[in-house]
Symmetry: C2
Subunit: 215 residues, 2 copies
Amino acid sequence: MSPSNSTRWCPTPEQLMILEEMYRGGIRTPNASQIQRITAHLSFYGKIEGKNVFYWFQNHKARERQKLRRKLSKQPYQQQLLQEQLCLHRCHNQENKFLSSNESPPPALHQLSLDKSADYLHPGGVGSAAAHMTSCTWKRDLPNMYELQNTSMMRSYGDDWMMMMLKMRDAGPTHYPSCCSSNRPLKTLELFPITTQNGKDHQATTSNPSRNSYL
Amino acid sequence: MSPSNSTRWCPTPEQLMILEEMYRGGIRTPNASQIQRITAHLSFYGKIEGKNVFYWFQNHKARERQKLRRKLSKQPYQQQLLQEQLCLHRCHNQENKFLSSNESPPPALHQLSLDKSADYLHPGGVGSAAAHMTSCTWKRDLPNMYELQNTSMMRSYGDDWMMMMLKMRDAGPTHYPSCCSSNRPLKTLELFPITTQNGKDHQATTSNPSRNSYL
DNA sequence: GCAAATTAATGATTTATTCAAG
DNA sequence: CTTGAATAAATCATTAATTTGC
């Protein structure tokens, strides 16, 4: 099937780079509004839908985890411990929003006070594919993305979950200039709109944080 | 937590009965439009959302399967074969729509020609909870529900998948007269609107039917 | 009888697995 | 082989049954 009417999303290098950056930054299970913003943002670089973002994080998380598992199974025990601690660190960084909210923090985190200028602002380096892209205005807004990760999708939809069902796919895949390659001029990434979320992202604060999962 | 502000859906006996009836009828993985219709229909008997229907079928299917597995593990081999054949029969009934469409039928079904007045019109009998309900006008429309079951949710959303993310849950659980008990007078079930689907339900006909799963 | 305690069901989420495009 | 898409299995969490001690 030709790329223009491809059935499945084919991320551009820029989209991929940004997604990986976010993943490195600690995003694992973006909630609905996060997905929406990410999608809006990435759509500048090519056709993309929310479900693509959703699936990407799901798959990437799962595959990183499995990659790590494979790796761990042939690693000496010492290094395993190290890895686990790194993981924990990431996890706690993710929880910062939680810690600073007026909700009572989860017990396990009560006893910790972590540096909030976490390492997600200085991730390990960008991919090569579009490395020349001016990096990276959008990073400044990354912290906005750091809302609760244990927010579930379904819960987020609320009564509007049904919206997704209101229409069926009848519009076939529309024009999609070139699959898997940059089809727009590279440009400094624009900021996410700095909306104050108006409590929209604060649901699910009663969930059990132990169910959060970060690789 | 009192029922009125319960966090989770609590099906009324009528809703449950209808869902079970549909399940017995062969519905396993309703697609978006099916879910919408089912939801609209069931909402007559109490508060309900699409996701509840979605989850109900998912859970029910899984738990019936696991129930059967447990049962099979202590059954003589002969009866196992019988069970499997029953399952297959159901499966084929589900595929009838497929067979009659102008899409090329799945290979595995090519070789079979089955009675289309399938047994889903005469299911094994209704539950006792609301058995006095005039039974059952809505059954006449059940065939409408027999669209492709292998249609995936995500695919159905299409470009509107994002709709589900547009708003976050801010409306808390609204008034819900009485949990788990009939809060409206029983009445003959109304027909589903007999819409001709207009091709809206015909997506995903290219999917591999082997992935269909019917218990 | 009737709450508190325990257990069983089941609604809701997440994780693992699988399919299939490219 | 990689990875987007989708489904199934496992898990969590809340509600209903039920048991238990009074």
